[in-house]
Symmetry: C2
Subunit: 304 residues, 2 copies
């Protein structure tokens, strides 16, 4: 890792209006770059729109596809790395995907791994967890609740992640209470502390009226921030409201090294030979899921 300046933006979440969403991205990216940002993160599905409805599929695109090309162009114009969310279509399958691009092209993409039950009718489960070396730092991506799965954040650490991008599309959590008072906020801080990486987080900002697909509309609280490898927020938007917001923050390689070299850095003291997970996983081809779903009698579709 080298020192780098990163930004996260809580943008509006427009449904099926990628041209307008990309224009939002351009305006925010200009502001971020003027403040020195070398990488800018946008929320889950910010290009396509986030909606728990089959209508979403009509707006899906291949990756790379039209919106990806626009993002690459924007990255080229601004000389910056961008990460944003697109509902991905691949043949007849759909994924909630976040891309990472610079002016030369698509660096990579991460599909949402732990798709919740309320999204499963509309898009599927990602099939691999990736870490991308962008030169100054190695980057992983968790999409929304992926960040709460200890095994996923540990996997990103094991694959070398020094920074995890955490885009969200979360309803109804007042941002002033998010980090200190919600189990989700605690979870992000714990993941950083236990794995010694930085997290760059942002949620959508939208107060959407009831519409043809959403009986109650949608209300995203619009927070953004950076958590350091000790689990401490370096910056976080906490004032009330759910308007758009941006954070720009320099992060230090020395801080990461100090955390990972601390005598009590947990990830260096694991005892894998003792953990049940390892044993359970070696027994059958898909043992964890089979074990868990049998144990809890959860009648849910298997990932595809």
């Amino acid at each position: 890792m080298q020192n780098i300046t990163i930004a996260a933006v809580s943008t509006r979440n427009r449904l099926g209006q990628p041209i307008d969403a990309l224009a939002d991205m351009r305006a925010w990216t200009e502001k971020a770059v003027r403040q020195g940002a070398e990488l800018v993160l946008f929320p889950e599905l910010n290009v396509t729109g986030y909606i728990q409805h089959a209508a979403a599929r009509q707006w899906a695109e291949p990756i790379p596809g039209p919106s990806t090309r626009q993002v690459i162009q924007l990255a080229r114009d601004m000389g910056v790395i961008l990460s944003c969310g697109i509902l991905e279509r691949e043949e007849d399958r759909f994924y909630c995907t976040h891309i990472l691009a610079n002016g030369s092209g698509l660096i990579g993409k991460q599909r949402k791994i732990h798709t919740p039950v309320q999204e499963q009718p509309y898009w599927g489960f990602g099939g691999s967890i990736e870490v991308f070396d962008i030169g100054k730092i190695k980057v992983g991506i968790t999409i929304c609740r992926d960040s709460f799965f200890d095994e996923m954040t540990r996997t990103l650490f094991m694959k070398g992640a020094e920074l995890v991008l955490m885009p969200f599309g979360y309803y109804n959590v007042p941002r002033s209470r998010y980090l200190k008072e919600t189990i989700h906020g605690m979870s992000i801080q714990k993941a950083c502390w236990t794995n010694g990486f930085f997290a760059l987080v942002c949620d959508s900002a939208e107060d959407r009226a009831p519409n043809e697909w959403e009986e109650n509309g949608a209300k995203f609280p619009g927070w953004a921030g950076v958590i350091d490898p000790w689990g401490s927020p370096l910056v976080f938007v906490e004032r009330d409201g759910n308007g758009e917001a941006m954070v720009v923050q320099g992060i230090s390689a020395e801080v990461l090294q100090n955390r990972r070299n601390h005598p009590n850095f947990l990830a260096a003291e694991l005892r894998p030979e003792l953990y049940q997970w390892t044993q359970a996983s070696s027994e059958t081809s898909d043992p964890g899921l089979i074990h868990l779903r049998r144990h809890f009698s959860i009648p849910r579709p298997m990932p595809t």
Copy 2:
């Protein structure tokens, strides 16, 4: 699981005075049982005394041994299950151990798994992670920082734990700030939420003057509490001070079932086929440690 009433006591931490420590336990157990407690937890090494010094070894005992027999007698007299901490000697090896006993005898013991570097000169690493069925509920034990290792708490869940006993011997964290403002407190709440178990926690209570083994003495803040399977504290000692304290709390089987049957219960949605941990662990006989220690160049003794 069936409904059960549990108690945790933050007791004094006496160095090498097991008779007095056992008398403390008797006094507190009487109070707890009068309030309906069926299981009472005491802090890390409360019988032997917690000290980071070779002197501790002179006070170590086999398990079962003299103190274990006293604890069984106390459990028999009070008709209760007890869990307390004894520095264990087995031949020429030493362990930081927590026992679980009822009036019929020793139910089991758990040795500390993730012994920190500052304790490693004096006692070793436990070699197995156990869950004990005590009739009404299945119980695991994490000793102090063991509770912060996601793999250990997940292992306890995978082995069936519905309640995790978390005895601590932690210095210098004001108890009024512990749960909300420290990464350790957040970590405990996250472990309960992500695994859907209850946690019964207590730290030592002691304000020990400098002495022949501790240049600066020791100051344990003396908190105790119960966290539910949603990660929410049911009861927690938060008033300032570091005096002794006790919590007694009924816990509900229905709450645990509701958490584990929630559509978004994370542990039921794991994707073990994708996690790096599994892959790394299948490569060599002790791969995780070798991998991690090579990666971070940590010159530390291997567990024995």
